[in-house]
């Protein structure tokens, strides 16, 4: 829920007198990279705390896949001579993620597994919406747009996997 609020904030940046301020490519790259890095951090916590082997396998997938996208993103911004620009959305995302990490840290066993996976479902849903509705349409550079689309395909597959996993854990 908090992630959705963060992305809504994108549309309500203070000082925007008229239409919502669109993020520029440097900010979009920063947001996308941050979103991936957040999932990697969450997964690393899961690798130490999760007990269900399917949850651990999912966490390994998060680390592996998001690292692949972020490596490509880093290579792309280097090639384009773009410096990813920190921005309120990235900061808010990171802050929310840190809070979630802390609350998950208090859990253990099956309760942790369920909470981690439930959060992954919510997180991926929100990021997918942001990619679809804001980050991809607003991106100018064609290669960045293409990489974001790859990211969306990945996030959608992850969301499906997380939902399937959540259903098995709910039993």
């Amino acid at each position: 829920m908090i992630y959705r609020m963060v992305f809504m904030a994108l549309l309500l940046l203070p000082g925007a007198a008229f239409a919502a301020q669109k993020p520029n490519d440097a900010q979009i790259a920063h947001i996308a990279y941050t979103a991936g890095a957040i999932d990697i951090t969450a997964a690393k916590q899961a690798l130490t705390k999760a007990t269900n082997p399917d949850v651990k396998a999912f966490a390994e997938e998060m680390v592996r896949d998001h690292q692949a996208v972020n490596d490509k993103a880093l290579a792309l911004v280097k090639k384009l001579h773009v410096t990813p620009q920190d921005n309120p959305t990235s900061r808010a995302l990171s802050k929310a993620a840190a809070a979630k990490l802390a609350s998950l840290d208090k859990l253990s066993g099956a309760a942790y597994d369920r909470a981690y996976v439930d959060n992954e479902v919510a997180y991926h849903k929100t990021v997918n919406g942001a990619l679809r509705d804001t980050l991809i349409p607003d991106a100018h550079n064609a290669e960045l747009k293409s990489l974001l689309k790859t990211g969306l395909q990945l996030f959608e597959a992850h969301q499906a996997h997380a939902e399937h996993l959540a259903a098995t854990l709910a039993k």
Binding site: E61, A68, K72, H158, H161
Partner: protein, 105 residues
């Protein structure tokens, strides 16, 4: 003499490779999806799984017949040894699936 000829012909027949008519297909993996299954697959045909994604994938048969791990940019070949339906999925991304229908020769 006739027996020797018969034996020689038998050996010759056995020496002809059984998969002389085997077809070779390529299934590409990209955009988090398997490419379409080839039609008219037959026992003895080979499938080359080619991972064009930036993500690691697997091509794993639920029947247990094959399980290939494909790092980004790599490929691996499997030979279809048995007839029937093979449901293939990626172990890392289980929503990625493709179905192979293999006919008897």
């Amino acid at each position: 003499m006739k027996i020797r000829l018969a034996v020689a012909m038998l050996l010759l027949a056995l020496a002809v490779p059984a998969d002389a008519n085997a077809a070779h297909y390529v299934i590409e993996i990209k955009h988090m999806a398997f490419g379409p299954a080839p039609t008219h697959l037959m026992v003895g045909d080979t499938i080359e799984w080619k991972n064009l994604d930036i993500f690691r994938h697997t091509a794993t048969a639920r029947t247990g017949e094959f399980n290939v791990d494909l790092l980004p940019g790599t490929k691996a070949e499997v030979t279809l040894a048995k007839p029937g339906t093979i449901n293939v999925y990626c172990r890392f991304h289980p929503t990625m699936t493709v179905r192979l229908d293999v006919a008897s020769p």
